[in-house]
Every structure is written in structure tokens, then in C-alpha cells.
């Protein structure tokens, strides 16, 4: 999956890919302060393309510990559990479900938004592909707003950027590909070689998406994210990140 991180103060977007294995669960947000854990499990495409197996999010889990509620969104349906009860909703439904402080809005075949105590919101988009496509599979996209009110303890592949890092980009110049500029980025004490490119935001236009121009970090976000991407692999869908 690809990640786009919007940095409001720096007025720029930074992006990177995480290339891991199907089945791996990546922690996206882990906030032991508010009790929120958001994890994404990877699925692979049906076949390799150019000797590479692309991975996507096939399942996104949003677990809100204070209410004991877990919302597991997969490409086949939406499951709401609270330890004792288990309710399943299909993507074919437009539904609104409220349980204690958690509100789940499902828009038929489009998206699910989970809002916790009106302060934290996570939106998951469904991307359907042609069932008989030789390579592609249905997958999910996750969108987390910058104004979510996490605790200072928040971390995770996305969560860590709620504290916006200082980013400086310089040495902007022509790259190997004449259409893509290259530059040097200084972030978190690292000096990184970055490439100007674009990735898609599908919130407005789910079919074609809108291009978001961003500075691309190579090697699975190495240097931009804290540690190595493998540090964010967790054992279960409801797991918090242990640091």
C-alpha cells in the first residue's frame, strides 16, 4: 500500500510505500492514551507483476478500548464486536450504527466511517475491481483526518505524524526521469534522497482519484518513519504497538 502524509505546517505532502507480505498486519495508529488501535492487514494481488507481488489493505481494524468495541472492515463486510456480541453488516447496506460513544456510518458499496466520541474519525473506502481480473483484487483505503484528537502517546505508521515533523527540502533538481524532480529532504535528523511524484486520493473521485503531488521516500519510508517498517508489524488486528 502507499501512504500519503499531509504536513499542514510544511504545506507539503510526503508519500511512501510499504512493501510487506500478504497476511502481515501493520499498525497504523496506536494510541494507548485514548485506547485506539487501527491496524491494516495486507492481501496480495492474484499474480505477480514484473516479478513483484503488490500488496493492499484487505482488512482494516479499528479497536476502541474504552468501550471494548472493535470494527473490522474487510472487502466482504463490516463486523462490529463488543466482546459479547458480534454483528455483521454487508457492503450492500447503507447503515448507521451507534453503540455507546462509537458511531459507524456505512455508505453502500462506498465507505465506512467510524467516529469515536466525536473526536477521532477513521474512514475506510472500498475499492472494487472486476471479479475476473487476472491480477487485481478488491482492496481498502484508509483516511485519517489531521485534526483527530489523539493523546500525546499516539504512534503507528500514520499516528506518529499527528506531531508534525520538521521537514526541509532542498537541492531540488532534474532527476533521472525528466518528468520527476529529485531533492534532498531533512527530517527527523535524517538526510533523504526524495523524488517528486504523485499518488492518488480517492475520497472525492473513487474511480479515478485525484492526484496528490508529494515527495516520495524510498525504501518503505525509511528515515521518514520512526524505525523500520517491520517495527510496525503487529500480531493481531486489535493489537497496540509496543515500543
Amino acid at each position: 500500500p502507499h501512504f500519503i502524509v499531509h504536513l499542514p505546517r510544511g504545506n507539503m505532502d510526503v508519500c511512501f510505500n510499504i512493501d510487506s507480505k500478504p497476511g502481515h498486519i501493520l499498525n497504523l495508529v496506536s494510541d494507548s492514551g485514548t485506547g485506539l488501535a487501527v491496524n491494516g492487514q495486507l492481501i496480495g494481488s492474484k499474480k505477480m507483476r514484473k516479478n513483484k507481488l503488490n500488496t493492499y489493505f484487505g482488512t482494516i481494524s479499528i479497536y476502541y478500548q474504552p468501550e471494548g468495541i472493535g470494527v473490522t472492515v474487510s472487502t466482504t463486510g463490516i463486523n462490529v464486536t463488543d466482546g459479547r456480541n458480534n454483528h455483521t453488516f454487508a457492503w450492500a447496506s447503507t447503515a448507521e450504527i451507534t453503540q455507546d460513544g462509537v458511531r459507524i456510518s456505512i455508505i453502500k458499496e462506498e465507505q465506512v466511517s467510524v467516529t469515536m466520541n466525536d473526536s477521532i474519525k477513521v474512514t475506510v473506502l472500498l475499492h472494487r475491481v472486476w471479479k475476473k481480473h487476472p491480477i487485481n483484487v478488491d482492496f481498502l483505503g484508509i483516511y485519517v483526518p489531521s485534526n483527530n484528537q489523539y493523546s500525546p502517546l499516539v504512534h503507528g505508521l500514520i499516528g506518529q505524524f499527528s506531531r508534525e515533523p520538521e521537514v526541509r527540502v532542498y537541492n531540488i533538481g532534474q532527476g533521472v526521469d525528466p518528468l520527476k524532480m529529485e531533492a534532498t529532504m531533512e527530517v527527523k535528523g535524517n538526510r533523504l534522497h526524495v523524488t517528486r511524484g504523485w499518488q492518488k486520493d480517492y475520497r472525492q473521485d473513487k474511480k479515478r482519484g485525484s492526484n496528490i503531488y508529494c515527495w516520495f521516500i524510498h525504501n518503505s519510508g525509511k528515515g521518514f518513519i520512526d524505525g523500520h517498517y517491520t517495527d510496525y508489524i503487529v500480531p493481531q488486528l486489535h493489537s497496540f504497538l509496543h515500543r
Binding site: N85, N86, A90, A92, S93, A95, K108
Partner: protein, 659 residues
Amino acid sequence: AVLTSEEQEDFEAIRGDDITVKSYKVESRITSRFVHTTVKSSVVNSGSKAQSIGFNVQIPKRAFITNFTMNVNGIVFVGSVKEKTVARNLYAQARARGKSAGIVRANSLDMETFKTEVHIPPGSNIEFELHYQEMMSRKLGMYEHTLHLQPGRLVPHFQVDIYIFEPNGISMIQTPHTLGKQFIDIIKVTQTKHKAHISLKPTLQQQRKCENCTETIIDGVFAVQYDVERESNTGELQVSDGHFVHFFAPSNLSPLRKNIVFVIDVSGSMWGVKMKQTVEAMQAILDDLTIDDYFSIIDFNHNVRCWSEELVPGSSIQVKDAKKYIQNIRPNGGTNINEALMRAVQMLVRASNQGLIDPRSVSMIILVSDGDPTVGEIKLSTIQKNVKRAMREEFSLFSLGIGFDVDYDFLERIATENRGIAQRIYANHNAADQLQSFYRRVSSPLLRRIAIQFPDDSVSEVTQNRFDKYFSGSELVVAGKVLPSESNTLTSLITASAARLDITLQTDVDTTELDAELAKQEHSFTGFARQMWAYMTVKQLLSERSLAPSAVKKRKITQQIMSIALEHQFVTPLTTLLVESQDATERLLADSPKDPKHGCCSGGLGLGGGSSAPGPTPVHVVYHPPPWVQMTTPAPPSQAEKGPEEWTLPKRVTIVDND
């Protein structure tokens, strides 16, 4: 249809009989759970004398007859539904002229027998055709369509066709072996995603009871069970012919917790098999309780006893103790229903006041009784009032009436008035299974306070759209008229509460799609939504009518029922089917029969059949002595002029009336 040479031989052999049934064909067209059934029979008087030829069909009590036609030697009699008084006047006129005949409609418990007889000269041909419509309700995760097949004799052309069209797809279909195992290979089921065709077309040889028998083995219930695909929990919203039907049967939801008080009649009349089977059922029912459920047991005869004065959790220890208690009950004495129900309500009220009851749980009283009250308050209307007054909005009453000595109407009234349902249990047909099956239907409440709503300017004349509970495996159905609009979309919004969850579900449908699809289907029932709306509305109004608080209100409801029944051609308790010859000179009447008076059934007249069917076989009750019925056609000669080839006049004409 042309007979094969072998069949022709058989047919010739049958012709030796006095009456030959040339063909017997039953066709059901099911579209979105609504069924239109046609029963056609072609009969010849192959004897040398004039004789009566009968046409008997058993139809489910919930069905409405929509038409009956006869063709006697080319003279066609066509049916039309009329207001009862209008039909009676027309019939009286015909009767005064000696040109009338009767149709008997006898009532049993679940079934009703439509029966007519026509007296015709030798060599005459007569064709009968009966139409009825019904809506199937989903129970324990499936719909069941049953046909009672009783041709009475071997029939050269015997055929049953059931065509199912379900717009959302058929998820499973099966034909249980209710008619007999010998039909397993003869019943053909053809199925595609949306359609199914079930056919039964036995040859004469296959119909014989034994190789050389001349009696038919076909005598029983032919059943088809199926369920439909449900893509989502929002249900199916279908629009056709200016009417909509919304089916709502969500699954994959956790059941709500239950608080149950079992109220069991242990009066003397329960002695024997009834008590044995009740105990057997209760053992299984109690095993089904979970630690999240609360329960207690009240047993009553002239006295009322509680196994536990308070509701207790369904733990294994409590369940074991309750089972032991039930096992030791020895029925005797009278029946004090009022006191028992009051104690049950008080128990729930107390638990509620003590905060023992989770506000999202379901509280229910399950009453099992086999007889009328004999001790304490015995006036049924007073008991009904007492129960209604004592019950709280969040409690429901479910009634099970065992056997025939119980006033089932009363049990049904108190159940429906208190947000529950009633069921009759046939004591002689494995009552334990029936009790357990009923319990299974109500043991998994998934949702409470369900409202199915539509934007005000999009629909009108909507049937009941608020429901207290939804049970797993059942279905809630709402129908109405779609108002003209520029938009081709109809939206419904369902709100409900589940265990800890509040849910709002939205469904949108293109209002033109289904009609376009139905037009392509050869065997679909194109007017299903319109008829289904009328069927549901009439059923609802009939039930409101029985509870109407004033004469004015009752009259208003009566007018509404009549207007819909006439427009949609339903024979209801307030309308009559008048069957007239084309020149309107000869008439028959078919009214809807009265319910049998309870306790009347021991001397009931069996109308045959049903013995091979599993489950309860209804006892057929004719509440009037079967009338001596004749039909005259053409114009009757006087008795003095009558020759052997001529038609007999009715000596007495009886019509069955019930209002």
C-alpha cells in the same frame, strides 16, 4: 394432452368407473413470497345415470379465494366477489326461481375445505377451476408452500407445477418427502439463480397404491421449502405495479438477552400424553437457555405455584433444578389462567423494578394451556382486560394452545394484544416437537423497536410498519402504494435497536426495474405487489376489526375491508363469491366459513386425506351438516316431465353463511 397408448389403456380401464377424473392440475405461481394457486379438475360422468360430481379442495386458512369457475357441458359459470348482502340478494332471486346451488366451505383448524357438488346427466363433462392467493411467512429461516393433494382416484393427467420467481435469488430449495418416499424420483426440481420449477407428474401406474390397485396413493401434502438470497441486512425493497413491498430479515446479529416466565397449565386435562410431551419439550427448551437469559416457571391448575418467585439466570445449576421440578409435576384440578398470568406479569414487573432486567433485553411470558379457565376469573374478556392492564409495553405474551378444548381465538387475542404470537399445538402429533419448534421461532430475538419508514411524499396506505421485535429466521414485511413521482427511486429507512447497538439502515430501489424483469418472466405473478398489499391490508383490518372499541369504528373498518376485497377480488369474512352462469340465470355462493366453535371437534366429519402428511393433520370440521346440494342447468323441466337424461331440481338448497 395426448395419452400414450399404455396410458390410454389405463384410462379406458378407469372409465369403467362411474366418474372419471380426466385431469387434475394444480399450479402455483410464487413471486416474492406471494402465491397464486389454481386447482383445475376435469371430470366426466361416465356412468349410465345422472349423478353428483364433487370438487373438494383443501386450502390454507390464511389464503383468500379469488375465483371459482365451472364449465358444465359448455355452460360457463364465472365467479365474482361481491358484497355479502348484494350476493345474497342475487342468490335469493336465483333460488326463488329454483336455479341455485351451494358451495360448502368447511373449516378445520389450519385448513379450510372448499367443496361443491354438481348433479349432471351421464356423459356430461365438467371442469372446475379454483383460484386462491396467500402470502408465505418465513419461519425458522425458510418459506414453505404446501398443497393438499387429494384427487380421490387415479387421474390420467395428474400434474402439479410450482413456479417460483424471487428477484433477489433463491438461496436454497427442497421438497421434503411429505407425500411419500415413492415420489422422491418423480418430483423434479429445476432451478436457476432467480427461478425454480418444481413439478410432479406421476403416471397412472405411479399413482396406484399397489401394482394392480385402482386406488390412488396421492393423498397428502406436497411441500416446497425455500429461502432467498439476502445481500445485506437492509432487506429487499421491491416496487411493482405502483405498489411496494419491503422484506426485512436481517441475520448475523447477536441475539438479545431474554427474560422468560414459562406459565404451564397443569390442570387435570393435561394428564397423560399432553403433560408428558410438555415436560419433554420443556427439558429441551430449558437446555437452550444461556447464562445471559433470566427465567422462571409458574405452573397452575386451580392454584398457582412458582418454581422460583424471582427470575434467575439460566445457569446449568438453575436449569437442572427447573428440569427436575417440571419432571415431578402431576396434573390435576381446575384451570386458573387469570391468576397465573397475573403472577407472571408481577414477576417481570418486580424484576424490572429491581433493575434486574437489561433495558435492551426481551421480556416474555410463554403460556401453555389446553383448556378454558374454570377457576377464579373465568370470563375471557375480563382476563383479556386484566392482562392488558397489567402488562408493560416492554413485555410480550406468547400463547400456546394444546388440543381442541382450548379457546384458541382467546389465546390469539391476548397474545397479539400484548405484542406476542399464538400457536395451536396438536396434541396427537408430537406436541413436544411443535412446542420446541415454536420456542425456536421466538428464542432468538435480534432486534427491538423496529420502524420501517419512507419519505412522506413517496408512499401512501402503508401497512403496519412498526414492530416490537424481530426474531431470527422470521421476516418483517411492509407494503404500500407508491405515489407518482418524477424520481425513479424509492427510499426506505429502518431504525431498530439490537444488543447494545442502535441501527439505521437505508435502502434505495429503482422503481422501474422489477416490472421490466417481471415482464420477461413467463411464469411470474405480475400483480404480486398489488395483491400482496391488499392481502396484508385486509388481514390487518380484519384483526383491527375484531378489537374495534366502538360500533362506528367497526363499521368504518368493515367498509375499508369491503372496498379492498371487492377491488382485489378476495373472499373474506365480509364478502362472498357469487358464481353465475354467463346469462346470470343460475347462481352459487361461496362465503368464508366461520371458525369452528372450540370443543366441537370430537364429532367432526373427516373429509379424507392428510394421513400421510407429517406434522399436524387437521381435524376437518363441518359446522353445518353438509348440505344436499344440486345444481340445475339448463332450465329445469318440471318433476313430472323429467326423463332419465334430464337434470334434477334441487330439493333443498343450503348456503353456508357465517357473518
